[in-house]
Symmetry: C2
Amino acid sequence: MRDHTGMTQVTHKRGSAGDVVESELERLTTESAVRITGRVVDNPIVKLGGLEIIPESVEILNLAETPLPIDEHTGLEQRLDWRFLDVRRRFPAQVLFAVQTTLEQGMREYAYAQGCTEMHTPKLMGTASESGAEVFKLGYFDRDAYLAQSPQFFKQMAIAAGIDKVFEIGPVFRAEPSFTSRHATEFTGVDVELAWISDVEDVMAFEERMLAHALAKVAEAHGEAIREAFGVEVTVPSVPFPRITMADAQEILRAEGWDPEGAKEDLDPEGERGIAAHIQRETGHEFVFVTDYPASIRPFYHMRPAGRPDLTSSFDLMWKGLEITTGAQREHRHGVLLKQAAEKDMNTGPMQDYLNTFRYGCPPHGGLGMGLSRVLMVLLGLDSIREASFLFRGPNRLTP
Amino acid sequence: MRDHTGMTQVTHKRGSAGDVVESELERLTTESAVRITGRVVDNPIVKLGGLEIIPESVEILNLAETPLPIDEHTGLEQRLDWRFLDVRRRFPAQVLFAVQTTLEQGMREYAYAQGCTEMHTPKLMGTASESGAEVFKLGYFDRDAYLAQSPQFFKQMAIAAGIDKVFEIGPVFRAEPSFTSRHATEFTGVDVELAWISDVEDVMAFEERMLAHALAKVAEAHGEAIREAFGVEVTVPSVPFPRITMADAQEILRAEGWDPEGAKEDLDPEGERGIAAHIQRETGHEFVFVTDYPASIRPFYHMRPAGRPDLTSSFDLMWKGLEITTGAQREHRHGVLLKQAAEKDMNTGPMQDYLNTFRYGCPPHGGLGMGLSRVLMVLLGLDSIREASFLFRGPNRLTP
């Protein structure tokens, strides 16, 4: 018998005719939900703690059909079709959601201690944010609406509303036909936005401390279970995390022979892994902030450092070579923002509400967006984001 | 000068020509974002704590345009158009989000202490849940998807996955053309689901304790600010909350003259207020669970009490006459569930994934769904849910 705390052995000696316990036990099928009442007795030959239960009553609450639709040989996609059975039958999956709960609570704890307000910004928008290319469109009474691909614009509105430190955990939606092991069309985002920052360094300092705090909690509460279930040791990172500019990262990578086609200004996944490996060799650290991304590959609302219109005051955070966060100082000056939008040939018509946010006294601010399942993927050494979410959503998967 | 902690006075004596502080102060407009450095000095005639700042430097970070688009005479709808200014200018709105943060954290604290796991269930679904009538439909690559109108089905899948106590705070979407003061097309739901319950009483006991715990935290942290901003006294409710069956509630209401057209089996808003007023007169309690709703007005998945196929093991929770929660024990027996769906003439075709959840050993369970903004509305005595959300979404409002 198994519950969420573990397994125990139930032993019944075949009895006389009319033995109700026996007849119920004989009806039982694997994975049935059952309530058993009995006496716990010592039995040194039982592996599960030297204890077993001698049942006095057996109540079958939900008899499982046979055969089960999945077994230990079932492939990933069919396991996802029967995700509830997949999670119930596998100890690691159970640990995963306990870890997720602690991780979130650790991040919230840090954010609250820093004075953050938890916001719930709308997921329904009247216009497509940014490019519109990766946005889901829906019918909204007699018009169209769009699903927010990030709380970006709305958390900036909260900053302009005088809420100086904003924290949100919620779904984000990406209409991106990506089939990689790290993309999903719906995922849980952890978003932070901070007003009155001096520069983007304040945002990185917040994030590294938030992660270190949360990972310390995870290590304490689940370190042993994670070792047992995933064979992974949770390392609580020291702060500050290493930082490297994109220019320096590229120089190092090119010296090591990295020469991708196409990715002239950005890092491709190989480059991300390469720079992370380099930093780990040099510093022993699993995390690295890559900073000063070129303006050409960042959104128009990222602030540019003084005198460097070609760069942005932005960063990505890599953990063991996987990008888990993008962050930046935002441009809060209405005129500069309009200029940067024009440079990128953006149609600002649908963005009036957003742009208006900066016309009546919006303070300097910056923030970050983190993918929760990506953090879990790296933390637990999972191969795919499909296993790091409860019910994965991708271009080909909308069920169960 | 105002920040999120309050107001302070800045006093500068007109100086000589070339006084940089003076020229910057003269440029200032109302609601501009400004960083002032100076000396704090005693001044007994200053109302704000007998202190003022003598500025040594003034840095205008974002000069507000004039005139501001809203002022103290602006009506609700136009205030919502400029919600960031509306919130920034009004002390009560600032308090509201601090209260929301504490309220959520209090509920989480209770839920975690009870062993809950925090889940993030998908908002994108492959088929319309339940009736389909109030569900938003969107284009999803080459097919259609739907927005979840509640995490109901998914949190039940989490129960079937062996996650015994499920907690989620997230957005829910209702394509309902309702224009009342208490309806929104997108709102934040607080959802709980509990496995291995004895009956629906376990769910009500969880909820009343969770609310009492959270409201005690709110009273302690914000009682004084709520009194000042909203003129409302926060009462920490005693447990258990009063309970009354729908049959008894109707009998009492009809004896008091309530005789609505149409609402023969349900309570209309007047009835909800009436029974709440009755309970408050009788017991002094602001909350009341109305239980045993007729099966005819409840979803097919609500469990029916043994021998009473006309009733459900369900409840609504009213606070000061407003419904803030619906809850129930769920039918976990696959055969019974199919029968109840058939009775309601439901097309079970699109619900196969949901129905499959109950075929392989799903334990008894029940849960609740609470509207966070409705709780805030009642707690703070607000007239409309529009003021209890950061950015309200209704049939006519998708912006800002």
